[in-house]
Symmetry: C2
Subunit: 336 residues, 2 copies
Amino acid sequence: MSTIRDVAEAAGVSIATVSRALHGLPRVSEETRRRVLAAAAELRYVASPSAASLASGQTNAIGVVAPFVNRWYFAVIVHSAEERLRKAGYDLLLYSLGTNAHERRRAFAGTLLRKRVDGVLVLGLHPTPEEVAALSAVGGPVAIVGAEVPGWASVRIDDEAAARCAVRHLLDLGHRRIGFIGGDDELHTAMPADRRLGYRAELAAAGLPTRPELEAVGGFTVTGGHDAAERLLALPERPTALFAASDEMAMGALQAARRSGLRVPEDVSVIGIDDHEMAHLMELTTVAQPVVAQGTLAAEMILAALTEPERPPPAVTVPTELVVRGSTGPPPRRAG
Amino acid sequence: MSTIRDVAEAAGVSIATVSRALHGLPRVSEETRRRVLAAAAELRYVASPSAASLASGQTNAIGVVAPFVNRWYFAVIVHSAEERLRKAGYDLLLYSLGTNAHERRRAFAGTLLRKRVDGVLVLGLHPTPEEVAALSAVGGPVAIVGAEVPGWASVRIDDEAAARCAVRHLLDLGHRRIGFIGGDDELHTAMPADRRLGYRAELAAAGLPTRPELEAVGGFTVTGGHDAAERLLALPERPTALFAASDEMAMGALQAARRSGLRVPEDVSVIGIDDHEMAHLMELTTVAQPVVAQGTLAAEMILAALTEPERPPPAVTVPTELVVRGSTGPPPRRAG
DNA sequence: CTGAAAGCGCTTACAG
DNA sequence: CTGAAAGCGCTTACAG
């Protein structure tokens, strides 16, 4: 492994000049720059990131903190953010916390990230005020996807509006008994109450009461959605439609309906949020959100903050859109 | 941000002693160690990874090179590998190459990874001999998932055997006209010819000829699988069963069949490979592979190689298993 | 335009 | 058990 010293010798200049030439800094003659680049290429020189970081105070790496990467939404965001950051010359350090409270604490306390990254991207987590303070103390800019945090750059959808849009679609079709499958609000791991609030608000706007027995917990997983739907569909007064706070839960609901011998949408309608890559396949009606764009945008927010630290961090809300497919229709006659 | 010097002063010792105490090295008195740990905690000291790397020659980071992270198989492996590596104190640097040949070259040339990681995990790629040589020159141990490379640790399934198992299942049910949906062998991005070879071999073993018109390219995506199936199902002599080299392509095939007005499995059977998390949901028969386990195992292989560099790298083949669900059945009467 | 030198914050023989 | 010192490989004022 060659070092900057080897390159300097080969090019017949000092290491300072090598550093300048390689970084494209001014005040290096074209002739010298050429010699240095040739020598570096010849020796297959790659600068040591550790040494460069130590000397410059920059790591050229961004940390991504997410609860999972093995779930569609997070995987897509990580992928698109990585692509954007790589293009700007940054590495991506992955911190997937799982449901491990200990890891979560370590990550947010800064133990994991301090002195290691120039900025942080937080995905799908609602940090507590203490966590926000701790992560902010890490030093670099922070951007968050899926929530809004004062002082941080953020990009997200309007969760309440998305939920209202879904419920309105069902109301427009004539449904009046609409079940809700939400996440587990205890965990603070994903958008918490907003989608539930939207569900209730839209019902209220239509003059319909909120019925606790129509709300179930699906934990944002396919299986959780299935089980929640199973319970809702076994109710004496069966709902004619189910609104799930994510497509994965909605897919589970689709399966539960089929297994209960119910036809979709003739007997029961199902709608989700996301526009998961499989939603099309399953003919699932959903409120689509731009996932790739959110990852790219968040990455760009960090890059911008790195360049212009004094700019106030932007808080962007990206639009959602109702995508009607085959899983929603009018309620069955006898129920309507 | 406090440095080791601050801790040394607070504890009244030298920085050398602080370093030893913090690393749990011997030859530090209990009393001193306690003082150092207390001072470090008090100051919220976190060692600079850059400085530590520069001085020790170790980065405590592992690079993961994969074509995608936004596909189920890769996302699951990255997640499980990260979990295992984190536990051992290693960071995970993500390099998702996409289909970008330029990025692929950079990654394998070592430009991206040299001096940056202690080891490399390669996922779902079949590196060329030159790439193998280049990545090996990066220095640390390399483990690969999904292929076997001389000199590298590896974990994978027997792709040919898995394919034969799937085809045998269809043959046992009585199918004789079996279509194949494979990846794009040009790309070298995933398991290339092995699953196709298994398909042909099992047909041959049953005394059936290989028919080019029954083989289609699905590119390992849902959409690609859909389109490939559409073409196969439009054949004058329609196949009674489709074997897709991945579950995602099989799911696309399921949809294509449905759209063509064909019932599954009454009119056409469909089988995949993977046991994707949605396979259960779609009642898809498949040859299951242990994905989480492969990620964990590969991570452990790297950790082991880091500890005992002289040990010859292991090459492990993990077992697959036929999971029969609702998407396969006997061929329709008139065709059998 | 170029170089000598200080310094980034650690680890690690070496000496005691 | 502990410390002084060298050294890891860069970047960056500073001087010329």
